[in-house]
Symmetry: C2
């Protein structure tokens, strides 16, 4: 596909010249680099490549949980696509856990005011990593708590042998004001470690109110982690509606529930990070990573989490080749494996490339969906801002001109960031992201084509700019990566 | 609960007097009637009674499909509640079908670009009344059509032995502009009669894109009807996302699907319309019905469809008693049974009360959820407008002052309307109704407490006004009731 006509190039160069005249300080970028970045931006905003790749990953391949046939097939697919572009491709081995969802049903079998002889179905889904319920399932009274303090305040006889429901609400108002991440952060702790907390008190199973903003009877799955010294009890997420129902009934009297979960933890599986290089023309040893994660949860088809991230990283590669550009440093597209289940891909890469950490000039990952990007966040010293301001200026044309520092990097690049690599990602509109996150409804239609193009523009422009910067970035000091 | 203080009554009467001075024509209503209507309105806007009843029906009793234990238990519950208020209660027998949902799964087993050895899960739910798939399920190629014309244009060999997907889209834009009903009407025909249309062409199963606006991987069930002279084939609704997925893949090549549905059509069951009378003080033979339907679909707990309608009808009864009012005509609360599955309740009532049709002064039903009511629609001659204008004026205080004529009455009262009874219902904001309609997500939280109060105000004021009007309404000419 020919993206850019000569007439447009002339127009862009003219626009650049006009912009130059409006600023007192000369840009730290050459006129050629600036023109190339604008070509990348405008190419991304017109191209269907990222969308077509995302459609293939989600519709043709489908859910890609770590350890699945689909995940490894997707890795081969991305590798092939990168080879088609002329990139040097390696599949770097990652050993991943292989947890497989089974039957999962819940029913209230006793509750106040019930019609005799009836039950009420509870919409739920096992949390990733949960053990199975024993035999014919677990049937017990449900104890509802809103937080760990309420759980810990209960005497052990109130919890022993019971099912604990953590009814911590996802703060929809906070998410609606553009703080989906903090809203998620507040609530996800119960999903992550609630089961062990409940088991310590003698509970036989743990339920968590779904961590997300949807109100469509949709349970949100996600990873959970057992404390080594505590009995492993089965754990599931119930939909927000079902949490409300159980809490309502439990205020009136005893509520008993039957829970059946039959997931299996199978043997670990060999899987792969796809690592695809376009060698730099001047500094081929210096690497700029542009990436997303290829694995998804099993319920949906992983469009927003994180097929979109992979697709926009692929688009950055595609456009650089399409436009015949030659980055000074190596651009390395990575499709990470197993972000969702312990970040083994990110950790394996960091371990394998530890000695080359200093050669990693920067790493970019997109892993917050494909909402309209407002700009770029940077887990690196603020002193880098002036050097990156021209990138922000170029991206402002599609409303992505913010440049902010952040505490954390995205999960997969977190270990590299912890080794002192400057890390970057798009700042995205995440107001709707947590409505779909980790649910069956994470499907292609949740991505707005134009917004995917805008994200691709951020990734392509930023990756190429970093790969072409005239001088070094200041690097962050090492710190521990995020636990999950 | 004491609803209205004396001070407020004085204030309301003063307000009425002030309003009187602002109009040239004297109100056709006495000062007392007007004051009473305002008391009802303000009482409804403050009371929790409707909410508490709705919470009990949905949370404590749960889904109430016709023929279920819950449906009949709910009828007994409403009867008891009406008796508590001092109403004369009859349970009028309705024979209802008893269709029970079974296992329901769908999986794409062959499709372009698939990872070898994998399948993709399809989110679907059997349509009400569907037969089961044979033996181990049906596996066949899926043929996607957008409408009946496309189906009929296919040569029989393209359809014979296949599964037909009717991919007619629910018009979300139309619904978003406040025309949910028309959007529903356009699409629901495929759900209702698609299976027989496909079977005529030799299909072995029919799928319909869910009729509704949600994008949360949520299938919408609903009634379907077999043509007597055509083989009965199983029928299910797939979520909008799954319809998109299948259509996308089918454009690329052959898509084969395995469909398992095991619903059962059991023997008919005796059930009941709950008919509760507060006898009129002057014209006890003349009846004003105020109603909603008690049965729901089985997936959700029937909050918007139509627990809310029953709750606001009960609230009308509750407030009239609470305020010690004495309607001239009999107010008859009806909780209808089996609107969803052939309207046997509405038809049974019309058959049983055929001789008294002339004594039915009016009938009101609420069956479009509990969105903010904008006013009242009337399936009766426009000549009645002036007589009802004071009602609209009183309801304008909560934004419900519209008065419009309509072609149709709500389903349960349709047969009475067809016998010449003036029929009424609230005009509701239905922009969100069809997102949840007939899904697992039709639960209590979808009702906004304040909006339920506003709907109760419309029902209570309108019912009492009709029961107290100083003169007769002009009656509609008989016409056939809606088929479904």
């Amino acid at each position: 596909m020919k993206l850019i006509s000569s007439a447009i190039i002339v127009f862009l160069l003219a626009g650049f010249a006009a912009a130059q005249r409006n600023f007192d300080q000369p840009s730290p970028y050459s006129a050629q680099l600036t023109a190339e970045l604008k070509l990348l931006r405008d190419g991304a905003l017109k191209s269907d490549y990222a969308w077509d790749q995302l459609a293939h990953l989600t519709n043709n391949i489908g859910p890609r949980p770590a350890g699945s046939l689909q995940a490894n097939f997707a890795a081969q697919y991305v590798a092939d696509e990168m080879r088609k572009l002329g990139f040097e491709v390696k599949l770097e081995k990652v050993v991943v856990p292989h947890w497989v969802r089974g039957e999962e049903t819940g029913a209230l079998v006793q509750f106040p005011g019930m019609a005799p002889g009836t039950t009420q179905k509870i919409a739920l889904t096992a949390l990733g990593g949960s053990v199975a319920t024993p035999g014919q399932g677990a049937t017990a009274e449900v104890v509802v708590v809103n937080n760990f303090d309420e759980l810990n305040a209960l005497s052990p006889d109130k919890v022993t042998g019971k099912i604990v429901l953590f009814n911590a609400r996802f703060d929809k108002q906070l998410a609606a004001t553009g703080h989906g991440g903090p809203a998620y952060g507040q609530a996800v702790i119960y999903r992550a470690i609630g089961a062990s907390a409940a088991a310590k008190q003698g509970a036989i199973a743990a339920l968590v109110r779904s961590v997300g903003g949807a109100d469509y009877r949709l349970p949100h799955t996600g990873g959970m982690f057992y404390q080594p010294d505590v009995p492993k009890i089965p754990a599931a997420a119930v939909s927000a509606e079902d949490a409300d129902l159980i809490a309502y009934l439990a205020r009136q009297g005893s509520v008993r529930m039957r829970l059946v979960l039959t997931p299996q933890q199978l043997a670990d599986v060999d899987s792969y990070n796809v690592v695809a290089d376009l060698k730099g023309s001047e500094l081929p040893d210096q690497v700029v990573i542009v990436s997303g994660h290829l694995d998804s949860w099993d319920l949906g088809t992983g469009a927003i989490d994180d097929g979109a991230g992979v697709a926009v990283a692929m688009q950055a590669a595609h456009l650089v080749k399409e436009l015949g550009l030659h980055p000074r440093r190596t651009i390395r597209v990575i499709a990470w494996m197993n972000e969702e289940f312990g970040n083994s891909g990110g950790r394996a890469y960091a371990a394998a490339h530890k000695e080359e950490a200093g050669k990693h000039f920067a790493a970019i990952e997109s892993d917050l969906g494909a909402g309209h990007p407002l700009g770029i966040h940077m887990a690196a010293p603020a002193a880098n801002m002036p050097l990156l301001q021209p990138v922000a200026q170029i991206l402002q044309a599609s409303g992505a001109g913010l440049l902010q520092t952040s505490e954390d990097a995205e999960t997969d690049i977190g270990p590299m960031c912890a080794m002192g690599v400057p890390c970057f990602g798009p700042i995205q509109d995440d107001r709707f992201y947590f409505n779909y996150h980790h649910t069956a409804a994470d499907t292609l239609d949740k991505v707005v084509p134009r917004e995917l193009q805008e994200n691709a523009a951020v990734m392509a422009v930023l990756a190429y700019a970093l790969a072409s910067l005239p001088k070094d970035l200041e690097r962050p000091t090492a710190k521990p990566a995020r636990a999950f």
